[in-house]
Structure formats: structure tokens, C-alpha cells
Amino acid sequence: MKISDLLKLSTDNLRRRKGRTILTLIGVVIGTCLIVVMISLGIALNQQYEELLRSYGDLTKIQIYNYTYGGGRNDNAPPVIDDAMLETFKAMPHVIAATPQYQANSLNAQLYSGKSDRYQTYFNAYGMDPASLEAMGISISSGEYLTGNENFGKNKIPVLVGENFGYSFEDTRKSYNSGKRYIYQGQLDANGNPVEPFVDISKDKMILRMTDGDENNPKTREYELVVVGVMKSDFNAGYFTDSGIVMSVSNLKHLENTYKKLVGSASTNNIQTGYNTVYIKVDDVDNVADVEEQIKDLGYNDIQSLSQIREQMQAQVQKQQFTLGGLAAVSLLVAALNIANTMTMAIYERTKEIGVMKVLGCELGKIRGMFLIESGAIGFLGGVVGVVISYIVSFIINNLQTIILLLGIQNESNDMMGGMMMGGMGVGMGGASSVIPWWLVVGAVVFATFVGLVSGIVPANKAVKISALEAIRRE
């Protein structure tokens, strides 16, 4: 017997008893619909949480703190994060980039710009892995990212600067008490226009100068900072994108070493204790916990990421979803009993037919198959219709405010309804309150079909056991 014939027999039978099929379908439709809507509410809630978290910062970033004080390292302390350890981090699965935010704390230098070094600021730079800049969420508003391979000549150092870096310069010709010594970001002139900073970071030459501190006969070193790109101000990526300087770790270390030589060995006794802050970028939020685990295994305990908070939020939503989904599942269970009942009825009605088919040489498997297809089809159809209705319900939930407005219902009830929806579903952060992704659609239909099939097993076996002889004798 061909599958197509089996399918046709089954569907013909369903069509034959339309009323009962439809009633049974409705049960499945309601069950599927409830499950889909409940899960869609949970998904929407999760998405809202995620959006909220994203506004706090990058979810896929992990921070490792590894501060060691002085030279007194004990054996239990986490290993020093050196360049080799950085490579270990980078080699971990799912890790896209790892970079320190190196701050040359012992480096004491000034930046000068303008005619006769009129404008000045303290030098304070971050040393980062040039390859990681983009991954760390730093975006460039003009120019390019650092590559680490730039060569502008002797004593010229490529840097990225924050878009408002120019405001950190002060005018050394004005007195400390004068208001004109500084220009603040957002400062307006008499006409209400923003005042430009003293230094135009994209044009003006900036000189880094360090001295040995000898007031009478100072030894100095000078470098020119070449602005390769200007960073877009984004506090999620770090405040330095607004008014800081970023250069490659190696350049910053070079500057630091130069300074140490300049001032003499007296103050160079600080041991290289590795990087104390390292950022790691992971390819996907779902892998953050995994990477964190690996880092912990290396001995680092002070790890922070937003995804830790995210997990707590998700666990909470999940609990809620399980409760709601469980309630919905009960209605699908009732639907399953309904299907089993319908199929049993159908088999009683068709006993004679089954007997005739058996006598005429229909194999048992085919008879079982026929009934399983029927119950599976009820599940499948119920699932499909249930999903369609879920979409409608979801649309209504998401547009409840608009719909109520359109219907012209009075304000009072509007507030009440709105409040109920908001309160009940944790809505209020904006965005949709019911989201139905494709996998939920597929999952719901597959699950409903499965429920149908399972409900059909017992009745189908009953059909198989019918005695052909007794069946054909029946009038």
C-alpha cells in the first residue's frame, strides 16, 4: 500500500466526520495557542531585559581584574597576566579579542600643542591591543583604527583620541584663576554657539614631553603624537573614547621605559606585575558563562560581566515561563485525551470496515498507520491553526493600546486595561510584549503533531487487534 493512498484514506475519514474532527481540533488549537502565547510573552520579556542590559553596556565583554600589591605575591594569588597569558585568553574558544587597558602609572609626562607650547595637558593614555579595538566596541568617527604597524618615523607615535580630547588642553598664558584658562565641552559663547577647544585634534601638532625633574638642567624627551583616528564618544566602550588617548600597548610600554631611563633607576624598582585589567570579548552572549568558567579555571577570581546579571534575569523569566507554560500544557493534555476519545469512537464506528480491510489483505501496520495519520493530522492541523490564532492574539496584545484607542473606549477602562497588561506582563520598558520567533512556530506545530500521534497510539493498537471475523459478521 502506498503512503499516498494511506494519506488519502485517513484524510477522507477525517472529512467524513467533519463535526467531530472540528470539535477535536478546537481542543488542540486552544492548547497550542495557549502554549505559544505564554512562551511568546516570556520571550518578549527576555528581549526587554536584554535591551535594558544592553543599554548598561556590552553583554559580551568580560573584565578580569588582577591587582597585585607591591612585590609580595603569595602562592595562592592568581598568575600574572602577561602577554603570554593574553594569548592564552585569545586562544580560548568563542573569544574574539582580549586586550589589557594598560595604564603606564609610573609615566609622568605632559602634552603640548600650539605656538610655543601654549596649550598643555597631562598625558594619560591607555595601551590596548590594536587588533581588539573594533571588537571592544570602539568606533571611529573619522580616520582609521590603529593597526599596530604604522610607521610615521622616529619618535612619532600613532594614537586614537577621543572626539572631545581637545577640551582637556588648558591655556598656560592665562592665570590659574582666570576662567579663560579652560574651555569646557558644551561651553557656549555670547551668541549661544559652542566654543571650539584650544586644540584642533585633527590638525594641530601634539608633542609629548617628559623630563627628569631636574629644575636647573632638565633632561627631556619628546615624541609627536600622530592622530590616526578619532574615536566616537561611547561610554559603554569606555570614557576614554570621549576624551582619552589610546595607543598600542607596546608603544605605551616603550614610552614608560624611556621615562624610567630618563629619571634613573631610583624610581624604576617597581616590578613588572602584568596587566591588572583585561577585557575579553566573546562571540555570543550565550558563551560568556562558558568563557568565564575557563578563566576561573586559570585561577582568576575577580571577573565581571553583565551576562552574570543577565543569567539571573533569565532564570527568573524562565521560572515564570515554566509556570505559565505548564498551565498551558494542561490544556494540551486535555486536548490529547480528546483526540484519543475521538479516535476510539471512530474505531468503534469503523470496526466492520477495518475487518473488511483486514480480510482483503490490508497489513496490520497499514491499519495502525491509517489511524496514526488521522490522529497526527488532527494534531498537525490543530497546531497550524493554533499558531495562526496565536499570531492574532500576539498582535492584539502588542497593539492593545492602539486598539483600545481606535475602539474609542473611555480613558478609565483604558488605564485599567493598560495597567493590567503592564502589571501582569512586566511591560513598560517599550518594545513588543509578545514575540513569536520562527522556532516557536515550528516547535508548536511539531509538538502538537506529536501529541496527536501519541494520543492515537492506544486507539490504533485497538484497531489492529480487532478480530476480522467478528468485524465482518457485525451488521
Binding site: 483486514k358 489483505g361 497489513e363
Partner: protein
């Protein structure tokens, strides 16, 4: 025709349990039916003739003894093996026709072909040919409820013959029909059996029907009372009497439509 019987029964015993009592339906039956024979099993009500037929067809398992069809011991087969065996070698005609009510005549006839896995087009063609042979071409797309008893039984016959089985079992095939229709239906069955060389085993309680058979097995109280091979002369006489008035070479009746059909052809 071979020398070995195609249907063979050895020491067949069937006991039913009714409540706490045992009812012996068949005691110790030994029979053999030769290939191509028309065999009638006769007996009074409750003699066990229907039980015997069910055993022969493998619809019930015997309490003891063996049933062979050809080389196959069908009494030892599983239900699925039996299903396959029926598909390949057996046909059935029932007293109450047992057509599926929601299928048309042609779909009913095509059903055994469907179980065998024959495609829709091919099986409809074969079923139509079979219905035409039974003079029911015009009724092909009618449901059983729209047909007379005789017509329904002819659909049943077409269904039994459509796979050209080796053996056909018929349980009181004319039991629900009037005399005239009975004769026509019997004629159709015997003609088809002869044409296809089918062994035809029929249970009946009507003596004159049995008279047309090659072999008459009489059952009484679960035992074979007699097993007679009818001689050709008697058979010819009986058949002539039985089928008097039924045109020997024509397709059986379809009175009104057939005439209209012929008229339109002429």
C-alpha cells in the same frame, strides 16, 4: 490440473468456549479441494459449515489440526503473513457484501489492488475492466447505498476476482438475494471462476445451488457427512435448469441501462 488438492485440511478441530461450556464446532475434518474446482459446503444451521470456511480462509485459528493452501500452512501463519497471503492468493465474497459505504463501486473493487501497492491509475483501470465484466460499468461511480443487493454483490464479486486469486471463498453469497438475482449472481461467479481457473469454495444451505458444484461437502455436527464429486452429466443438467433463461454468452443483466446503452450504440 494437478493431482494434489489446493486446499487441504488435516484433522481439523475447532472448539469454542461459550461461558464455561465448550462447544465443538468442528470435530475432526479431513478434506481436499482440487485446483479449479467449484466446491460447495452445505449443511444445516449450526452444522459447522461456516466455521469450516473461516478455518479454510485463515480468518480463525483452529484448536487443532492443519489447513494448507497450496504448500502453505495458513493455520500457522501470523496475521501479517496472512494479510500478505490473502493479498496474493485469496479472494472473499460475503453474504452481506461488506462493501465500504463511503467508497464508490470502482473504489471498492480497486481496494485489494491498493493494499497491494498498485498505483491509482492502474488499479482504477483494472477495477473498471472487472466491473464492466460484471455489467456494472455504468454504476462504477455509485456508492453501495445507491445500488440494489444484486448489484452490490456483483461489485463484491468483481472485488474478489480483481487480483485473479488462486482461491475464492464465499460465505452464503446469495443469502440476501431473491431467486432471480441469486441465479444471475451465481452464474457470474461460476463464469468468472471458470474463466480464471479459480478454485471456488462456497458455503450455502440451498441444495439447488450446490447442485451446480463439482464437489459437494456436507457437514453435520462438526463432521464431514459426505464428500461427493458430482458427475458431469448431473452437473450439466443441474446447471441447465439453474441458468435457464440467462443468456449464456452475454454479460449479466443491467436491464434498463443495458438496453439504453445498446440502443445508443446501434
Amino acid at each position: 490440473m494437478g493431482l494434489n488438492p489446493i486446499v487441504r485440511v488435516e484433522h481439523l478441530r475447532k472448539v469454542y468456549r461459550v461461558g464455561k461450556e465448550k462447544v465443538v464446532a468442528l470435530n475432526d475434518v479431513n478434506i481436499g479441494i482440487m485446483p479449479g474446482e467449484v466446491c460447495c459446503i452445505v449443511g444445516a444451521s449450526g452444522s459447522g459449515k461456516s466455521t469450516l470456511l473461516n478455518q479454510l480462509a485463515g480468518l480463525e485459528k483452529p484448536t487443532r489440526g492443519k489447513v494448507y493452501i497450496g504448500k502453505h500452512e495458513i493455520s500457522a501463519m501470523t496475521e501479517n503473513e496472512l494479510a500478505k497471503f490473502r493479498q496474493a492468493h485469496l479472494g472473499f465474497i460475503f453474504q452481506s457484501y461488506n462493501l465500504l459505504q463511503n467508497l464508490t463501486a470502482v473504489e471498492n473493487v480497486a481496494m485489494p489492488l491498493m493494499f497491494k501497492g498498485v498505483g491509482r491509475k492502474e488499479r482504477t483501470k483494472l477495477a473498471m475492466a472487472q466491473l464492466k465484466r460484471m455489467g456494472l460499468a455504468k454504476r462504477a461511480n455509485h456508492k453501495p447505498t445507491e445500488m440494489s443487493g444484486g448489484q452490490q454483490q456483483r461489485v463484491g464479486i468483481a472485488r474478489a476476482f480483481v487480483l485473479k486469486p488462486r482461491v475464492i471463498f464465499a460465505d452464503e453469497p446469495t443469502g440476501n438475494l431473491d431467486t432471480k438475482t441469486t441465479r444471475q449472481v451465481l452464474y457470474s461467479m461460476l463464469e468468472m471462476a471458470k474463466e480464471n481457473g479459480t478454485t471456488f469454495v462456497m458455503v450455502t444451505h440451498e441444495k439447488d445451488l450446490a447442485g451446480c458444484a463439482d464437489r459437494i461437502i456436507t457437514i453435520q455436527d462438526g463432521n464431514v457427512l459426505s464428500d461427493i464429486v458430482v458427475d458431469d452429466a448431473t452437473k450439466a443438467k443441474n446447471r441447465a435448469a439453474m441458468f435457464e433463461g440467462i443468456a449464456t454468452n452475454s454479460v449479466p443483466d443491467e436491464p434498463v441501462e443495458a438496453q439504453a446503452d445498446n440502443a445508443s450504440k446501434a
